[in-house]
C-alpha cells in the first residue's frame, strides 16, 4: 500500500489560498462606493448579459469577481435565501448582515472541506435610511468578512484601486461624482497601463436610498454616457 505524502495543514491552506488569489487576480475589478443618496456598484464588464452586479433584495445589492459559474451559484443562493426569509417573515427582516453571514459560512465550508476552493470575492451592500446606516460587507474566498466604510474595491488590482479610492473619496459625494471617481480609478489602475473606459465597457448599478421599495437600479449606457461626459 502506498503511503500518501504528508502535507502540513499550514502548507495545504497556503496552497489553497494562493490558488484562489491567483484565480481572482486574473479577473477585472469591481468598485463599490457610497454616495450621498445611496451606494453605487461599478464593474468593468463588457458583457450585457453576464452580470457581475445584481439585486439580492429590496435594499441589498451584490457584486462579485472571479469565476462566473461559482459566483453565479452563490448569487442565486442569496436571492433564494432573501426571498424565502422575506416571504416566511417580513420584507423588513431580510438584512445584509444575515446574507453576508450565510455567504461567509458557505465560502468558509467550501474553502476548508473541498479540494478546490472557490475563486471568488463578493460584496454584499445594504442601503439604510441614512448614509450612516449603510453597510458594505466584503467576503473573501476563505469565508472571512470585513465591514467596509465608504468604498471598497476587489479583483485583480484591488490594492492599487483601493489606495486611489481612499485619496479621491469623501463622505456625501453626489452620485455622478462618485461614479466618475470609480470609473477613473478603474481606468487608471484596473490594468497594467492606464486606458479609457467607456459606457460599453462598464456595468453600473445603484441602490438609491429614497426609492420606495426596490432600491436597485441598473444604469443603462445612455444614462452612463451622460454621467461620464458630465
Amino acid at each position: 500500500m502506498s503511503v500518501p505524502f504528508y502535507v502540513s495543514p499550514e502548507q495545504l491552506m497556503r496552497d489553497k489560498a494562493d490558488f484562489a488569489r491567483k484565480g481572482i487576480a486574473r479577473g477585472r475589478s469591481v468598485v463599490v462606493v457610497q454616495y450621498e443618496g445611496g451606494i453605487a456598484f461599478v464593474a468593468e464588464n463588457p458583457s450585457r448579459a453576464l452580470h457581475k452586479i445584481s439585486e439580492l433584495y429590496d435594499r441589498i445589492g451584490f457584486a462579485a469577481v472571479g469565476k462566473y459559474n461559482e459566483f453565479e451559484s452563490l448569487r442565486v443562493a442569496g436571492v433564494r435565501l432573501a426571498d424565502l426569509r422575506g416571504y416566511s417573515y417580513d420584507r423588513t427582516d431580510v438584512t445584509g448582515r444575515s446574507l453576508a453571514n450565510a455567504y461567509a459560512q458557505t465560502l468558509g465550508t467550501i474553502f476548508t472541506e473541498t479540494a478546490k476552493p472557490y475563486e471568488v470575492e463578493l460584496i454584499v451592500a445594504e442601503v439604510g435610511p441614512a448614509s450612516s446606516d449603510d453597510q458594505i460587507y466584503r467576503l473573501m474566498f476563505d469565508g472571512s468578512v470585513s465591514d467596509e466604510q465608504g468604498h471598497v474595491a476587489m479583483g485583480g488590482s484591488a490594492e492599487a484601486i483601493n489606495a486611489a479610492l481612499a485619496q479621491g473619496w469623501r463622505t456625501d459625494m453626489p452620485r455622478e461624482e462618485a461614479i466618475r471617481l470609480a470609473v477613473d480609478v478603474l481606468s487608471a489602475h484596473g490594468d497594467e497601463s492606464p486606458r479609457a473606459l467607456g459606457a460599453s465597457d462598464l456595468e453600473v448599478a445603484v441602490l438609491e436610498r429614497q426609492r420606495p421599495r426596490r432600491c436597485f437600479v441598473r444604469l443603462d449606457s445612455d444614462v452612463l454616457s451622460d454621467i461620464l461626459s458630465g
Binding site: D83, T106, I110
Partner: protein, 270 residues
C-alpha cells in the same frame, strides 16, 4: 435557516427560477393552505372589476369582507400591484387569497432577479394559472380563490386582462371583466358604460360606477363609505408602470358619483 456549515444544498442547486417550486421542495408547510375546511366561516372578498383603456388597464375592488351574514372587515384591500407592470385582484376566501397574492408577487420578483429579465405578461398569466391549480383541493372544500390579472404588455404595447376559474382555467378577456359575488351587476353596468378608447380617468369613473351598481344589489359588496372615508382601491397599469391610486385621487370621483346618483340612477353618464 443556515446550518453551521453554510447554506443547505437546495440553495445551490441548479433549478428553475420559480420561487413557489423552491418553497414547495424546501418548506411545503409555508405554501398557502388551510388546515380545516370551514368555508362559510372564513372571511370572503367580493367584487373586482377590470377594464382596458386606450393606454392600458384599470382595476378596482370594493373594500368589504363578509363571513356568512356578518361583515368581517370594512376596509380590506383586494387589489394589489403584482409587479412593475401588472395588477391583481382577488375574490373568494380572503385569507388564502391574500396569501396567494403574496406568493405570486414574490414569484414574479424572484424570476426577475434570477433570470435578469421580467416574465412576459403571458408568462405571468400562465404561472398564476398553475398556482391556482395547486389550490384545487382547497377550492373543492369551499375555500375557492378567484383572481383577476391585468397588466400592460410591454411587448404588444397594450393593456390585457386575464380571468380564471377555480380549476386554474385561464381566459383572456377583450374589453372588461368582473369577478366575485357582485360581478353580474358590475358587468351589466360596464356593458353600458364601457368605451374601448376611454382615457384612464374615464375608465376609473366607469369602474367606480360598476362597483357602485354591484354594491347596490349584492349584499356582500361594500359601497363607498363616505362617513369613514373608505373608497374602492383603484389600480392603473400603463406604459409608465403599475400603481395604486391614492385616496386623494379616488375620493373626488367617488363623491361626484354619489352626488350624481341623488338625481339620476344612471349617474348622468349616458
Amino acid at each position: 435557516m443556515t446550518s453551521p456549515s453554510g447554506l443547505p444544498r437546495a440553495f445551490g442547486l441548479t433549478g428553475s427560477a420559480s420561487f413557489a417550486e423552491f418553497l414547495a421542495t424546501l418548506h411545503p408547510d409555508r405554501l398557502p393552505a388551510a388546515s380545516t375546511a370551514q368555508g362559510a366561516t372564513a372571511p370572503h372578498g367580493t367584487t373586482i372589476v377590470a377594464l382596458r383603456t386606450a393606454d392600458g388597464v384599470v382595476m378596482a375592488g370594493d373594500r368589504r369582507a363578509t363571513m356568512g351574514n356578518v361583515i368581517a372587515q370594512h376596509d380590506i384591500e383586494k387589489v394589489f400591484a403584482a409587479d412593475e407592470f401588472s395588477v391583481i385582484g382577488i375574490a373568494g376566501t380572503a385569507g388564502l387569497a391574500v396569501e396567494l397574492v403574496r406568493l405570486f408577487q414574490v414569484e414574479l420578483e424572484h424570476y426577475e432577479k434570477i433570470e435578469g429579465v421580467p416574465l412576459s405578461l403571458d408568462g405571468k398569466a400562465n404561472r398564476l394559472a398553475s398556482m391556482l391549480r395547486g389550490q384545487l383541493g382547497l377550492a373543492m372544500q369551499g375555500l375557492a380563490v378567484v383572481p383577476l390579472l391585468a397588466g400592460y404588455d410591454t411587448a404588444r404595447r397594450t393593456g390585457r386582462i386575464f380571468s380564471y376559474d377555480v380549476t386554474g382555467g385561464r381566459y383572456e378577456e377583450h374589453d372588461f371583466h368582473a369577478v366575485g359575488s357582485g360581478s353580474a351587476f358590475a358587468r351589466g353596468s360596464m356593458k353600458k358604460l364601457y368605451r374601448a378608447d376611454a382615457s384612464t380617468s374615464d375608465a376609473v369613473r366607469v369602474a367606480l360606477e360598476a362597483l357602485y351598481d354591484a354594491a347596490d344589489d349584492d349584499s356582500a359588496t361594500g359601497g363607498p363609505d363616505l362617513a369613514r372615508g373608505i373608497y374602492p382601491v383603484v389600480a392603473v397599469a400603463d406604459s409608465q408602470g403599475a400603481r395604486i391610486l391614492t385616496e386623494d385621487e379616488v375620493g373626488p370621483d367617488v363623491e361626484r358619483i354619489v352626488a350624481d346618483r341623488r338625481t339620476r340612477q344612471d349617474g348622468g353618464t349616458s
